[in-house]
Protein backbone atom coordinates (compact mmCIF):
# COMPACT_ATOMS: atom_id res chain seq x y z
CA UNK A 1 0.00 0.00 0.00
CA UNK A 2 1.47 3.34 -0.89
CA UNK A 3 1.81 6.22 1.48
CA UNK A 4 -0.90 8.41 -0.01
CA UNK A 5 -3.54 5.76 0.53
CA UNK A 6 -2.60 5.61 4.18
CA UNK A 7 -2.84 9.37 4.38
CA UNK A 8 -6.46 9.51 3.22
CA UNK A 9 -7.40 6.65 5.51
CA UNK A 10 -5.87 8.68 8.33
CA UNK A 11 -8.56 11.36 7.92
CA UNK A 12 -11.18 8.68 8.38
CA UNK A 13 -9.32 6.96 11.17
CA UNK A 14 -9.29 10.11 13.28
CA UNK A 15 -13.04 9.51 13.55
CA UNK A 16 -14.06 8.71 17.04
CA UNK A 17 -10.45 8.73 18.13
CA UNK A 18 -9.50 10.27 21.44
CA UNK A 19 -9.81 14.04 21.30
CA UNK A 20 -6.10 14.62 21.71
CA UNK A 21 -5.16 12.69 18.56
CA UNK A 22 -7.88 14.16 16.38
CA UNK A 23 -6.75 16.19 13.39
CA UNK A 24 -8.05 19.74 13.01
CA UNK A 25 -10.18 20.62 9.97
CA UNK A 26 -7.17 22.48 8.58
CA UNK A 27 -5.05 19.33 8.90
CA UNK A 28 -7.81 17.21 7.33
CA UNK A 29 -8.05 19.63 4.42
CA UNK A 30 -4.29 19.67 3.81
CA UNK A 31 -4.14 15.85 3.88
CA UNK A 32 -7.21 15.51 1.68
CA UNK A 33 -6.06 17.93 -0.99
CA UNK A 34 -2.50 16.63 -1.10
CA UNK A 35 -3.79 13.05 -1.31
CA UNK A 36 -5.61 13.80 -4.56
CA UNK A 37 -2.88 16.00 -5.98
CA UNK A 38 -0.35 13.20 -5.41
CA UNK A 39 -2.73 10.58 -6.78
CA UNK A 40 -3.25 12.63 -9.95
CA UNK A 41 0.02 14.56 -10.36
CA UNK A 42 -0.82 15.62 -13.92
CA UNK A 43 -4.09 17.32 -12.95
CA UNK A 44 -3.65 21.04 -12.16
CA UNK A 45 -5.28 21.88 -8.83
CA UNK A 46 -8.07 24.03 -10.26
CA UNK A 47 -8.97 21.33 -12.79
CA UNK A 48 -10.34 19.10 -10.00
CA UNK A 49 -13.54 21.13 -10.28
CA UNK A 50 -14.21 19.21 -13.51
CA UNK A 51 -14.49 15.81 -11.84
CA UNK A 52 -13.89 12.75 -14.00
CA UNK A 53 -13.27 15.01 -17.02
CA UNK A 54 -10.05 16.15 -15.38
CA UNK A 55 -8.82 12.55 -15.71
CA UNK A 56 -10.26 11.31 -18.98
CA UNK A 57 -9.31 13.07 -22.24
CA UNK A 58 -11.98 11.30 -24.32
CA UNK A 59 -14.76 12.02 -21.84
CA UNK A 60 -13.52 15.59 -21.63
CA UNK A 61 -13.73 16.05 -25.37
CA UNK A 62 -17.37 14.91 -25.39
CA UNK A 63 -18.15 17.06 -22.39
CA UNK A 64 -16.57 20.16 -23.94
CA UNK A 65 -18.68 19.59 -27.04
CA UNK A 66 -21.78 19.46 -24.81
CA UNK A 67 -20.69 22.70 -23.12
CA UNK A 68 -20.78 24.47 -26.50
CA UNK A 69 -24.56 24.51 -26.13
CA UNK A 70 -24.94 23.98 -22.40
CA UNK A 71 -27.93 21.85 -21.42
CA UNK A 72 -28.34 23.97 -18.25
CA UNK A 73 -28.94 27.17 -20.23
CA UNK A 74 -32.73 26.98 -19.98
CA UNK A 75 -32.47 26.48 -16.24
CA UNK A 76 -30.23 29.55 -15.91
CA UNK A 77 -32.64 31.75 -17.84
CA UNK A 78 -35.66 30.42 -15.93
CA UNK A 79 -33.78 31.11 -12.71
CA UNK A 80 -32.96 34.63 -13.85
CA UNK A 81 -36.68 35.28 -14.44
CA UNK A 82 -37.47 33.95 -10.97
CA UNK A 83 -34.87 36.24 -9.44
CA UNK A 84 -36.42 39.27 -11.14
CA UNK A 85 -40.08 38.39 -10.65
CA UNK A 86 -41.65 40.08 -7.60
CA UNK A 87 -43.38 38.01 -4.92
CA UNK A 88 -47.10 38.68 -4.26
CA UNK A 89 -46.06 41.41 -1.81
CA UNK A 90 -44.04 43.22 -4.48
CA UNK A 91 -40.62 42.36 -3.06
CA UNK A 92 -38.00 40.25 -4.82
CA UNK A 93 -35.10 37.99 -3.90
CA UNK A 94 -32.85 41.01 -4.28
CA UNK A 95 -34.50 42.50 -1.18
CA UNK A 96 -33.27 39.51 0.85
CA UNK A 97 -29.89 39.33 -0.87
CA UNK A 98 -28.61 42.86 -1.50
CA UNK A 99 -25.29 41.42 -2.76
CA UNK A 100 -27.05 38.99 -5.06
CA UNK A 101 -27.33 37.13 -7.31
CA UNK A 102 -23.60 36.28 -7.18
CA UNK A 103 -23.79 34.85 -3.65
CA UNK A 104 -22.93 31.14 -4.05
CA UNK A 105 -19.44 31.68 -2.60
CA UNK A 106 -20.98 32.53 0.80
CA UNK A 107 -22.44 29.03 1.19
CA UNK A 108 -22.62 26.81 3.08
CA UNK A 109 -21.99 28.72 6.29
CA UNK A 110 -22.43 28.17 10.01
CA UNK A 111 -25.36 30.11 11.50
CA UNK A 112 -24.74 30.64 15.19
CA UNK A 113 -28.28 31.82 15.97
CA UNK A 114 -29.89 28.78 14.38
CA UNK A 115 -27.09 26.47 15.48
CA UNK A 116 -26.95 24.81 12.06
CA UNK A 117 -25.14 24.75 8.76
CA UNK A 118 -27.12 26.86 6.28
CA UNK A 119 -27.23 26.08 2.58
CA UNK A 120 -28.06 28.48 -0.23
CA UNK A 121 -31.40 26.80 -0.83
CA UNK A 122 -32.31 27.15 2.85
CA UNK A 123 -31.72 30.91 2.71
CA UNK A 124 -33.64 31.20 -0.57
CA UNK A 125 -36.58 29.35 0.98
CA UNK A 126 -36.22 31.52 4.09
CA UNK A 127 -36.55 34.58 1.87
CA UNK A 128 -39.68 33.15 0.26
CA UNK A 129 -41.31 32.39 3.58
CA UNK A 130 -40.44 35.83 5.01
CA UNK A 131 -42.29 37.26 2.03
CA UNK A 132 -45.36 35.09 2.38
CA UNK A 133 -44.42 32.56 -0.31
CA UNK A 134 -44.35 28.80 0.06
CA UNK A 135 -40.92 27.17 0.27
CA UNK A 136 -39.80 25.16 -2.76
CA UNK A 137 -38.42 21.66 -2.89
CA UNK A 138 -34.70 22.34 -2.45
CA UNK A 139 -32.98 19.87 -4.78
CA UNK A 140 -35.05 19.93 -7.95
CA UNK A 141 -37.44 21.94 -10.16
CA UNK A 142 -37.70 25.76 -9.89
CA UNK A 143 -35.36 25.96 -6.87
CA UNK A 144 -32.64 24.13 -8.80
CA UNK A 145 -33.19 26.57 -11.67
CA UNK A 146 -32.91 29.59 -9.39
CA UNK A 147 -29.78 28.01 -7.97
CA UNK A 148 -28.41 27.52 -11.50
CA UNK A 149 -28.75 31.24 -12.19
CA UNK A 150 -27.05 32.14 -8.91
CA UNK A 151 -24.27 29.62 -9.58
CA UNK A 152 -23.75 30.99 -13.08
CA UNK A 153 -23.47 34.54 -11.74
CA UNK A 154 -21.07 33.33 -9.02
CA UNK A 155 -18.63 31.57 -11.34
CA UNK A 156 -15.03 32.20 -10.43
CA UNK A 157 -15.69 32.89 -6.75
CA UNK A 158 -13.31 30.95 -4.54
CA UNK A 159 -14.59 28.30 -2.14
CA UNK A 160 -13.85 29.60 1.36
CA UNK A 161 -15.98 27.77 3.90
CA UNK A 162 -15.33 28.83 7.49
CA UNK A 163 -15.68 26.75 10.64
CA UNK A 164 -15.99 29.46 13.27
CA UNK A 165 -13.87 28.78 16.33
CA UNK A 166 -16.19 30.62 18.70
CA UNK A 167 -18.90 27.96 18.43
CA UNK A 168 -17.98 24.33 19.14
CA UNK A 169 -21.23 23.22 17.49
CA UNK A 170 -19.79 24.28 14.13
CA UNK A 171 -16.85 21.93 14.56
CA UNK A 172 -19.25 19.21 15.70
CA UNK A 173 -21.31 19.66 12.50
CA UNK A 174 -18.14 19.43 10.41
CA UNK A 175 -17.14 16.25 12.24
CA UNK A 176 -20.56 14.72 11.67
CA UNK A 177 -20.19 15.45 7.97
CA UNK A 178 -16.76 13.86 7.97
CA UNK A 179 -18.07 10.82 9.79
CA UNK A 180 -20.84 10.48 7.21
CA UNK A 181 -18.25 10.60 4.43
CA UNK A 182 -16.23 7.74 5.87
CA UNK A 183 -19.07 5.56 7.16
CA UNK A 184 -20.00 2.48 5.18
CA UNK A 185 -23.72 2.07 4.65
CA UNK A 186 -26.34 0.23 2.67
CA UNK A 187 -26.59 -3.32 1.43
CA UNK A 188 -23.47 -2.73 -0.69
CA UNK A 189 -21.51 -1.51 2.33
CA UNK A 190 -20.01 1.53 0.58
CA UNK A 191 -18.87 4.78 2.15
CA UNK A 192 -18.55 7.86 -0.06
CA UNK A 193 -14.79 7.41 0.19
CA UNK A 194 -14.92 3.78 -0.98
CA UNK A 195 -15.52 4.92 -4.55
CA UNK A 196 -14.24 8.50 -4.58
CA UNK A 197 -11.06 8.07 -2.49
CA UNK A 198 -8.67 5.20 -3.17
CA UNK A 199 -10.77 4.06 -6.16
CA UNK A 200 -11.07 7.45 -7.83
CA UNK A 201 -9.75 7.25 -11.37
CA UNK A 202 -10.64 3.57 -11.55
CA UNK A 203 -13.47 2.41 -13.74
CA UNK A 204 -16.80 1.17 -12.52
CA UNK A 205 -17.83 -0.68 -15.65
CA UNK A 206 -17.11 2.00 -18.30
CA UNK A 207 -17.51 4.99 -15.96
CA UNK A 208 -14.49 6.68 -14.39
CA UNK A 209 -14.95 7.33 -10.68
CA UNK A 210 -14.39 11.02 -10.01
CA UNK A 211 -12.08 12.19 -7.22
CA UNK A 212 -13.78 13.58 -4.09
CA UNK A 213 -11.72 16.76 -4.32
CA UNK A 214 -13.80 19.25 -6.31
CA UNK A 215 -17.12 17.48 -5.87
CA UNK A 216 -18.95 20.53 -4.45
CA UNK A 217 -17.94 23.30 -6.86
CA UNK A 218 -20.17 22.80 -9.89
CA UNK A 219 -23.73 22.51 -8.56
CA UNK A 220 -26.48 22.47 -9.55
CA UNK A 221 -25.86 20.05 -12.40
CA UNK A 222 -27.77 19.20 -15.55
CA UNK A 223 -27.43 15.45 -15.48
CA UNK A 224 -28.23 13.56 -18.67
CA UNK A 225 -29.50 10.69 -16.55
CA UNK A 226 -32.04 13.05 -14.96
CA UNK A 227 -32.76 14.97 -18.15
CA UNK A 228 -32.93 18.14 -16.03
CA UNK A 229 -31.10 20.22 -13.47
CA UNK A 230 -30.73 19.08 -9.87
CA UNK A 231 -28.89 20.02 -6.71
CA UNK A 232 -26.06 18.45 -4.74
CA UNK A 233 -28.44 16.89 -2.23
CA UNK A 234 -30.33 15.21 -5.05
CA UNK A 235 -27.05 13.58 -6.04
CA UNK A 236 -26.42 12.59 -2.41
CA UNK A 237 -29.81 10.89 -2.36
CA UNK A 238 -29.03 9.06 -5.59
CA UNK A 239 -25.65 7.90 -4.28
CA UNK A 240 -27.19 6.60 -1.07
CA UNK A 241 -29.87 4.76 -3.03
CA UNK A 242 -27.32 3.29 -5.42
CA UNK A 243 -25.53 1.61 -2.54
CA UNK A 244 -28.98 0.46 -1.37
CA UNK A 245 -28.96 2.65 1.71
CA UNK A 246 -31.65 4.98 2.99
CA UNK A 247 -31.59 8.42 1.39
CA UNK A 248 -31.90 11.41 3.70
CA UNK A 249 -33.89 14.62 3.23
CA UNK A 250 -32.50 17.36 1.02
CA UNK A 251 -31.43 20.23 3.28
CA UNK A 252 -31.83 17.91 6.29
CA UNK A 253 -29.13 17.82 8.94
CA UNK A 254 -27.21 14.81 7.55
CA UNK A 255 -26.71 16.29 4.09
CA UNK A 256 -26.14 19.82 5.42
CA UNK A 257 -23.27 18.55 7.55
CA UNK A 258 -21.95 16.42 4.68
CA UNK A 259 -22.00 19.45 2.38
CA UNK A 260 -20.22 21.46 5.08
CA UNK A 261 -17.41 18.88 5.34
CA UNK A 262 -17.08 18.37 1.57
CA UNK A 263 -17.17 22.09 0.82
CA UNK A 264 -14.50 22.72 3.44
CA UNK A 265 -12.31 20.10 1.74
CA UNK A 266 -12.74 22.08 -1.51
CA UNK A 267 -11.61 25.41 -0.04
CA UNK A 268 -9.45 27.31 -2.47
CA UNK A 269 -11.10 25.94 -5.61
CA UNK A 270 -13.03 28.22 -7.99
CA UNK A 271 -16.79 27.74 -8.25
CA UNK A 272 -17.88 26.60 -11.72
CA UNK A 273 -21.58 25.84 -11.51
CA UNK A 274 -23.90 25.05 -13.02
CA UNK A 275 -22.38 21.90 -14.48
CA UNK A 276 -23.19 19.29 -17.09
CA UNK A 277 -22.62 15.63 -16.31
CA UNK A 278 -23.63 12.25 -17.67
Amino acid sequence: MNKTILTLAAIGLTLGAAGASQATPQEDQAMFQSYFMKRFPNVPKDDFVNGAYALDPVGRENWEAIEEFPPYETAVSNGEKMWATPFANGKTYADCFPDGPAIAGKYPYWNKDKGTVVTLTMDLNGCREANGEKPLKPETGPMAELNAYIAFESRGQIRKVVIPEDDPRALAAYEKGREFYFTRRGQFNFACVTCHGANSGNQLRSEILSPAFGHTTHWPVYRSKWGEIGGLHRRYKGCNEQVRAKAFEADGEEYRDLEYFMSYMDNGLPLNGPGARK
Binding site: Q187, F188, N189, F190, N199, Q203, L204, R205, L209
Partner: protein, 122 residues
Protein backbone atom coordinates in the same frame (compact mmCIF):
# COMPACT_ATOMS: atom_id res chain seq x y z
CA UNK B 1 -45.04 -42.08 -0.81
CA UNK B 2 -46.99 -38.93 -1.26
CA UNK B 3 -46.66 -37.91 2.35
CA UNK B 4 -42.98 -38.81 2.27
CA UNK B 5 -42.56 -36.50 -0.72
CA UNK B 6 -44.25 -33.75 1.18
CA UNK B 7 -42.05 -34.37 4.14
CA UNK B 8 -38.91 -34.26 2.00
CA UNK B 9 -39.99 -30.96 0.46
CA UNK B 10 -40.70 -29.57 3.87
CA UNK B 11 -37.29 -30.69 5.10
CA UNK B 12 -35.61 -29.08 2.11
CA UNK B 13 -37.39 -25.80 2.73
CA UNK B 14 -36.42 -25.98 6.39
CA UNK B 15 -32.81 -26.69 5.50
CA UNK B 16 -32.77 -23.76 3.08
CA UNK B 17 -34.32 -21.58 5.73
CA UNK B 18 -31.63 -22.56 8.15
CA UNK B 19 -28.93 -22.01 5.59
CA UNK B 20 -30.19 -18.46 5.11
CA UNK B 21 -30.27 -17.76 8.81
CA UNK B 22 -26.89 -19.17 9.71
CA UNK B 23 -24.07 -16.63 9.81
CA UNK B 24 -21.63 -18.72 7.75
CA UNK B 25 -23.47 -21.27 5.66
CA UNK B 26 -20.37 -21.71 3.49
CA UNK B 27 -18.34 -23.27 6.25
CA UNK B 28 -19.76 -26.78 6.22
CA UNK B 29 -19.81 -28.19 2.71
CA UNK B 30 -18.33 -27.45 -0.66
CA UNK B 31 -20.83 -25.21 -2.47
CA UNK B 32 -22.55 -26.85 -5.40
CA UNK B 33 -23.32 -24.38 -8.11
CA UNK B 34 -24.16 -24.12 -11.76
CA UNK B 35 -21.42 -22.50 -13.83
CA UNK B 36 -23.70 -21.15 -16.56
CA UNK B 37 -26.20 -19.71 -14.10
CA UNK B 38 -23.25 -18.19 -12.23
CA UNK B 39 -21.98 -16.52 -15.38
CA UNK B 40 -25.35 -14.87 -15.96
CA UNK B 41 -25.34 -13.59 -12.37
CA UNK B 42 -21.78 -12.27 -12.70
CA UNK B 43 -22.74 -10.22 -15.77
CA UNK B 44 -26.17 -9.05 -14.50
CA UNK B 45 -26.20 -5.45 -13.25
CA UNK B 46 -28.97 -6.17 -10.78
CA UNK B 47 -27.35 -9.34 -9.42
CA UNK B 48 -23.66 -10.08 -8.96
CA UNK B 49 -22.43 -7.46 -11.43
CA UNK B 50 -18.86 -8.75 -10.93
CA UNK B 51 -17.95 -7.25 -14.31
CA UNK B 52 -18.58 -3.73 -12.94
CA UNK B 53 -15.33 -3.98 -10.97
CA UNK B 54 -13.42 -7.01 -12.32
CA UNK B 55 -12.04 -7.97 -15.69
CA UNK B 56 -13.56 -11.33 -16.63
CA UNK B 57 -12.43 -13.18 -19.75
CA UNK B 58 -15.10 -12.63 -22.40
CA UNK B 59 -16.94 -9.90 -20.41
CA UNK B 60 -17.74 -6.55 -22.04
CA UNK B 61 -16.63 -3.18 -20.56
CA UNK B 62 -15.11 -4.45 -17.33
CA UNK B 63 -14.29 -2.15 -14.42
CA UNK B 64 -10.80 -1.77 -12.97
CA UNK B 65 -11.53 -1.64 -9.25
CA UNK B 66 -10.86 -5.26 -8.33
CA UNK B 67 -8.28 -7.72 -9.64
CA UNK B 68 -8.87 -9.58 -12.90
CA UNK B 69 -10.79 -12.81 -12.37
CA UNK B 70 -8.37 -15.25 -13.95
CA UNK B 71 -6.68 -18.46 -12.79
CA UNK B 72 -8.93 -18.46 -9.73
CA UNK B 73 -8.31 -22.08 -8.76
CA UNK B 74 -4.61 -21.30 -8.45
CA UNK B 75 -5.24 -18.12 -6.45
CA UNK B 76 -7.56 -19.73 -3.93
CA UNK B 77 -6.60 -22.98 -2.17
CA UNK B 78 -10.20 -24.22 -2.10
CA UNK B 79 -13.56 -23.28 -3.56
CA UNK B 80 -14.77 -22.72 0.00
CA UNK B 81 -12.19 -19.95 0.45
CA UNK B 82 -13.41 -18.31 -2.73
CA UNK B 83 -17.00 -18.69 -1.55
CA UNK B 84 -16.07 -17.06 1.76
CA UNK B 85 -14.45 -14.15 -0.10
CA UNK B 86 -17.60 -13.50 -2.14
CA UNK B 87 -19.77 -14.04 0.95
CA UNK B 88 -17.97 -11.28 2.88
CA UNK B 89 -14.62 -9.99 1.65
CA UNK B 90 -14.24 -7.63 4.62
CA UNK B 91 -13.38 -10.63 6.83
CA UNK B 92 -10.06 -11.07 5.01
CA UNK B 93 -9.56 -7.33 4.44
CA UNK B 94 -11.62 -4.78 6.38
CA UNK B 95 -10.73 -2.10 3.78
CA UNK B 96 -12.08 -4.19 0.90
CA UNK B 97 -14.41 -2.22 -1.37
CA UNK B 98 -16.31 -5.35 -2.41
CA UNK B 99 -19.93 -5.64 -1.25
CA UNK B 100 -20.56 -8.59 1.09
CA UNK B 101 -22.77 -10.54 -1.31
CA UNK B 102 -23.72 -13.30 1.09
CA UNK B 103 -23.68 -11.56 4.45
CA UNK B 104 -25.86 -8.68 3.20
CA UNK B 105 -28.15 -10.98 1.19
CA UNK B 106 -27.35 -9.32 -2.12
CA UNK B 107 -27.44 -12.83 -3.61
CA UNK B 108 -29.35 -15.85 -2.42
CA UNK B 109 -27.41 -18.89 -1.23
CA UNK B 110 -28.04 -20.65 -4.54
CA UNK B 111 -26.95 -17.60 -6.54
CA UNK B 112 -23.85 -17.37 -4.39
CA UNK B 113 -23.04 -21.02 -5.06
CA UNK B 114 -23.63 -20.56 -8.78
CA UNK B 115 -21.44 -17.49 -9.03
CA UNK B 116 -18.74 -19.16 -6.95
CA UNK B 117 -18.75 -22.15 -9.31
CA UNK B 118 -18.42 -19.81 -12.28
CA UNK B 119 -15.60 -17.69 -10.82
CA UNK B 120 -13.78 -20.85 -9.70
CA UNK B 121 -13.95 -22.10 -13.29
CA UNK B 122 -12.12 -19.03 -14.62
Amino acid sequence: MRSLGKFATGATVAALGWALLLPSPHAANAPVGDVEAGKAIAMDRAKGNCIACHMIPGGQSPGTIGPALVAMSSRYPTIEKLHAQIYDSTVANPQSAMPPFGKNRILTEQELNDVTAYIWSL
